[in-house]
């Protein structure tokens, strides 16, 4: 009995070894059938004119209209392996997720390549757009889009250069208070649009922050994407509240960086320097 068990165990080990030695699916092939979990990457693929290659999308976030009707194949932290196989997906595009590392690894063994992109900063957006252009074999369009993006951002930066620099806070949550800090695209947007971030010392891109520090630093402008901008009225001494410059902004318009960086920068500029607003 015991020797049987031992034999079975050995056989199992061998099988496991054999499995683990299957070469992982080959990387760097062109994308043919895509599932996209990251809305930012989806925007880019659509902008590159490759919406027809997208066969599945993720369950979280707002996806561009061209592909929003595609089948939902799980989410970034819980890919639906069966659906991905059924749709014959060859690549999954996502942002990194620690939760799903095991599932991603398994997808690799099944021949579906998972690629993570970091689009949380301006640089990340540029790098991702360039990489997607290559893999979709649309390098020329990617370069053109990148150029337009750089031009648009430079134009806005030039407009705000030399203007007074107001103190700005971007609140992404109010209860508890979460603010956009260094390392987020929102921090870069503030600077580009001619403001300075009062949460310059937040230790992470989106950080739980002290209301006391905000009161003391006296932001001139508060951009609130939490949906609860009215809660700022309890602090009437804040310059932003006093002068009516607490701006509620739909989170969709600002918080997901991607192809709309120039629009986001223009919106931020209009809020920080209304004298420059185009209308």
């Amino acid at each position: 009995m015991r020797s049987h068990l031992r034999l079975a165990f050995c056989a199992l080990c061998c099988a496991a070894l054999a499995c683990s030695q299957t070469p992982p699916a080959e990387a760097n092939r062109a994308y043919q059938r895509l599932a996209i979990f990251a809305p930012s990457a989806a925007e880019m693929v659509v902008a590159l004119g490759a919406a027809d290659r997208v066969v599945g999308i993720g369950g979280f976030g707002t996806f561009p209209g061209e592909i929003e009707k595609r089948r939902v194949v799980g989410s970034f932290d819980q890919p639906d392996i069966e659906a991905l196989l059924e749709l014959n997906v060859d690549h999954v595009l996502t942002t990194s997720s620690v939760n799903a590392a095991a599932a991603y690894e398994r997808l690799g063994r099944l021949g579906i390549i998972v690629e993570s992109f970091d689009t949380s900063t301006f640089d990340g957006v540029r790098t991702t757009l360039r990489a997607l252009g290559e893999r979709l074999e649309r390098e020329a369009i990617a370069e053109q889009l990148l150029e337009e993006m750089s031009d648009g951002l430079e134009r806005i930066q030039a407009q705000t250069a030399g203007l007074p620099i107001p103190k700005v806070l971007i609140a992404v949550g109010t209860d508890p208070l979460y603010v956009a800090g260094p390392g987020s695209h929102l921090d870069e947007l503030i600077r580009l649009a001619g403001g300075s971030n009062v949460a310059f010392d937040a230790t992470s891109p989106y950080q739980r922050y002290s209301i006391e520090a905000v009161l003391e630093r006296q932001p001139d402008i508060i951009i609130d994407t939490s949906g609860q901008a009215s809660s700022w009225e309890q602090w009437p001494l804040l310059p932003a509240v006093k002068s009516g410059r607490v701006h509620p902004v739909d989170a969709d318009l600002l918080v997901v960086p991607g192809m709309r960086l120039v629009e986001m920068a223009a919106l931020t500029r209009d809020l920080i320097h209304p004298e420059l607003a185009t209308r």
Partner: protein, 345 residues
């Protein structure tokens, strides 16, 4: 080590702990992420930022520090009362499952409920605490019904019902979470992660009354708890109506826990460690232990929240991290020094 309790000793300890609480409150209001100090209340009244500093002290730090004191006291007292009721050193305020009901109530308010027009007068920051408290009350009613067998509340059924109700609540919350949107998911995580919230000073008075009534009622049962520590039969022979005592303690402790969880989510450790710590220091007599637990728990949470606000300022830490990281090792050291004696035996 049993020291007889006389009124001098009782008064002495209570005054000392009250003084400690006062000191922690002063420190709590005195320090923060900003540069405002207590002196600013009397300083140059005309300077430009005087008003802001005053606002920071009176409208940010004071209410939050007082809230920490009230909740810390409530949790610690509930823990001490449940440890006495269940005669179990592992009992804490969350053991009866009422916290599970509060968690469900809060999560439901965050995800499923669109407030009907007639109820829109409730200020937005209070919606979640109110729903959480209703959840706690519903759970209290349900658990009390289920745990009562033949008109009696037995320790085993209470413990098991509580454990099962907590597991059930956790599963229900996971279920709601798995259907929630990303924003709702964030809100749920923040709600469940213990924290002392920002609150308006005007609500503190109401909360203080809501916590004071059950607390004083529990203090008044101290003699009966002492009798109960000899066992239920022993207590009955001493003339204690143990059924009424158990039911009353269950309800009062659950009310305190329900209020605390509604306002602050699950802040661990306060209700477990502070009563044990004090039992080691001052002995097991509940006439002293119960008020001491309230005062000690209040000081402990004020200190923990002050650290949470200031250690990484202006970034904030979850207060539960501090209570466990500071409270745990400190308690173990004390336990070792007392040779493992826990004051129960």
């Amino acid at each position: 080590m049993r020291v007889r309790l006389n009124s001098r000793r009782l008064l002495g300890w209570c005054l000392a702990l009250a003084a400690l609480l006062l000191v922690t409150l002063v420190i709590g209001v005195g320090v923060g992420s900003g540069s405002a100090t207590l002196l600013d209340l009397w300083g140059d009244q005309t300077s430009g930022d005087h008003e802001t500093k005053r606002q920071i002290l009176m409208q940010v730090r004071l209410p939050r520090t007082l809230l920490a004191a009230l909740l810390g006291g409530a949790l610690s007292l509930a823990g001490a009362a449940f440890q006495a009721l269940l005669r179990n050193p592992l009992a804490d305020p969350y053991v009866l499952g009422v916290s599970g009901g509060a968690s469900i109530g809060g999560v439901v308010a965050l995800t499923l409920v669109q407030l009907p027009l007639g109820l829109r007068f409730i200020p937005a920051p209070l919606v979640v605490p109110i729903f959480a408290f209703l959840g706690a009350l519903a759970a209290l009613f349900l658990i009390e019904r289920v745990a009562t067998v033949n008109g009696r509340l037995t320790v085993y059924t209470v413990l098991l019902t509580g454990a099962i109700f907590n597991a059930f609540s956790a599963a229900l919350i996971y279920f709601i979470q798995s259907l929630a949107s990303l924003e709702e998911l964030h809100a749920i995580v923040f709600h469940l992660m213990g924290r002392v919230r920002e609150i308006e000073l005007s609500w503190i008075g109401l909360l203080a009354i809501a916590i004071a009534v059950p607390s004083l009622w529990l203090f008044a049962s101290a003699r009966d708890f002492n009798a109960l520590s000899t066992g239920e039969e022993g207590a009955t022979q001493l003339g204690v109506d143990t059924e009424r005592l158990k039911r009353r303690t269950f309800i009062l402790g659950a009310l305190l826990t329900g209020i605390a969880v509604s306002m602050a989510g699950l802040i661990g450790f306060v209700g477990l460690v502070v009563p044990h710590l004090l039992r080691l220091l001052i002995g097991p007599d509940h006439r002293l232990l119960l008020p001491a637990s309230f005062l000690g728990g209040a000081s402990f949470l004020v200190i923990a929240d002050t650290l949470a606000r200031t250690l990484t300022a202006p970034n904030e830490l979850p207060v539960g991290v501090i209570t466990a990281l500071v409270g745990g090792p400190f308690f173990l050291v004390l336990l070792r020094r007392r040779g493992g004696q826990n004051g129960f035996s």
